[in-house]
């Protein structure tokens, strides 16, 4: 029940600050660009767009969301409320993943690149949660937005480079252990999609637990006093 209320609150917050509007604009823009591209490029272009934007939005926005909540003392209020840190994390991950998945499905439909809906939706949803977890892990310890952006660059490179290499044909089987590669494999409904689903779920769970521990620690040290 508490998680549901938190989730509704987060969705309202994201709606108010233009996330839904932004992704509506970008989805239309991406679909328009896809239609301008030659047919044989469309699938790869659509997957790159989905992977680097809607799926990765948590990594981009989490710093701003958490810094804003710190500034408005929202976290202080949540910390003394009955809300548990894991509920806070789940709400953040789910609210962002809803927008990511909706935008990705629309781009996928627009570009006609979805061949297996279950794998596609799972890939984007779990991938988005993973990116958001990394966003939370980085955001809890930073003070300014510029700091956050700088901190996300290595994470983005580590996740994106092997995934893009996989998309363009560099496909040794061991690389399937990489979470970014799993997202691509699921979105493309590749040969190893079933395996990728479990590996990605493991990575997401692992990242979520780490994010939860970070949030729990930060809730205990809010207001300058370590509890």
């Amino acid at each position: 029940m508490r998680t549901k209320s938190l989730l509704i609150g987060d969705i309202r917050f994201q709606f108010k600050y233009g996330f839904y509007f932004l992704y509506a604009v970008f989805t239309i823009l991406y679909i328009a660009i896809l239609y301008m591209l030659p047919g044989r490029w469309r699938e790869q272009a659509a997957i790159i767009m989905i992977f680097t934007d809607p799926a990765a939005m948590g990594l981009f926005f989490m710093g701003a969301i958490i810094l804003f909540e710190k500034g408005e003392r929202v976290l202080n209020s949540i910390a003394i409320s009955p809300v548990k840190p894991y509920e806070y994390v789940i709400s953040k991950l789910t609210s962002i993943a809803i927008i990511s998945t909706a935008a990705a499905v629309l781009i996928g439909l627009g570009g006609r690149v979805i061949s297996n809906y279950i794998y596609f939706i799972l890939g984007v949803f779990l991938g988005s949660c993973l990116f958001s977890c990394i966003g939370i892990i980085l955001a809890v310890n930073i003070k300014t937005l510029n700091q956050f952006i700088v901190a996300t660059i290595p994470a983005e490179i580590i996740i994106s480079l092997p995934a893009i290499a996989w998309l363009f044909g560099f496909k040794p089987l061991w690389l399937i252990l990489h979470p970014g590669v799993c997202v691509i494999e699921l979105c493309q409904n590749g040969e190893n999609a079933f395996l990728a689903m479990f590996i990605l779920a493991f990575w997401t769970f692992f990242a979520a637990v780490y994010a939860w521990r970070k949030v729990r620690k930060s809730f205990k040290s809010l207001g300058g006093i370590k509890l």
Partner: protein, 237 residues
């Protein structure tokens, strides 16, 4: 002048502390290296693979233009994020009543970063461009890209109420760059749908070197700046 320099020094110190300045410079240099060496290598590979004489060659100028716009864009984006942080923490209002003043604050956060970006982009473009550029053309294009990037700082600061909206609008502001590839890919009259973007006229100017486009690029930038500046000014009070 002294308080003004102090305010600017504060800005530089902050983005140094965040490593943002360092990262912006690294990102610019890395992109410049990628464009200078990566694109011709990719062109060579693609041409031999598809057995064609030129694939990317026609878009070398577009890569150069992207390079000229990227430096001021990144500097101005960093500046806008910092201004939003200062606004959230009320530092902007405090500075406005100190000897720095509102005007000084605006100069140190808008004009100085754009000025530095202009110098850096002139250097970057002179060293790393893929096509032949005359000195005057480099100066004119970098000046135009720096002026048009001021729109980004103004836009982000004026229309976002906090850092979250700032990030959302920051993504949206990328659309301002969309005008660059338009004249390269759309040659019919539909290209003029993008004529409200200064970047569109900057690209047109580079393609045909017609003085009219210089005026149009400058005019669209000035119109955007003067419209948004009113809102910016109201927010600063």
């Amino acid at each position: 002048m002294k308080p003004l320099y102090r305010s600017f020094a504060m800005f530089i110190k902050q983005i140094f502390k965040d490593s943002m300045l360092f990262m912006v410079c690294i990102a610019v240099v890395l992109t410049a290296f990628f464009i200078r060496f990566g694109i011709p290598a990719a062109e060579k590979f693609l041409c031999s693979y598809f057995n064609k004489e030129a694939i990317l060659l026609n878009y070398y100028l577009l890569c150069d233009l992207f390079l000229a716009l990227m430096t001021p864009y990144m500097f101005c984006f960093a500046s806008a994020l910092m201004m939003l942080t200062e606004y959230d923490e009320n530092i902007a209002s405090f500075l406005a009543v100190t000897p720095v003043g509102k005007k000084g604050y605006v100069i140190s956060r808008l004009i100085f970063p754009a000025g530095i970006a202009f110098i850096v982009s002139v250097i970057i473009l002179s060293i790393f461009s893929l096509t032949e550029w005359s000195v005057w053309m480099i100066i004119i294009i970098c000046l135009l890209t720096s002026v048009s990037s001021v729109i980004i700082t103004l836009f982000l600061f004026s229309f976002s109420h906090n850092r979250v909206e700032g990030m959302a609008l920051g993504k949206l502001s990328g659309i301002l760059m969309l005008g660059l590839p338009v004249p390269f890919f759309l040659t019919n009259k539909f290209q003029y749908l993008f004529s409200f973007l200064p970047s569109f006229w900057i690209a047109k100017l580079c393609i045909s070197e017609n003085g009219i486009y210089l005026l149009l690029a400058l005019a669209t930038s000035v119109i955007w700046i003067s419209i948004i500046y009113k809102k910016f000014s109201r927010k600063m009070i």
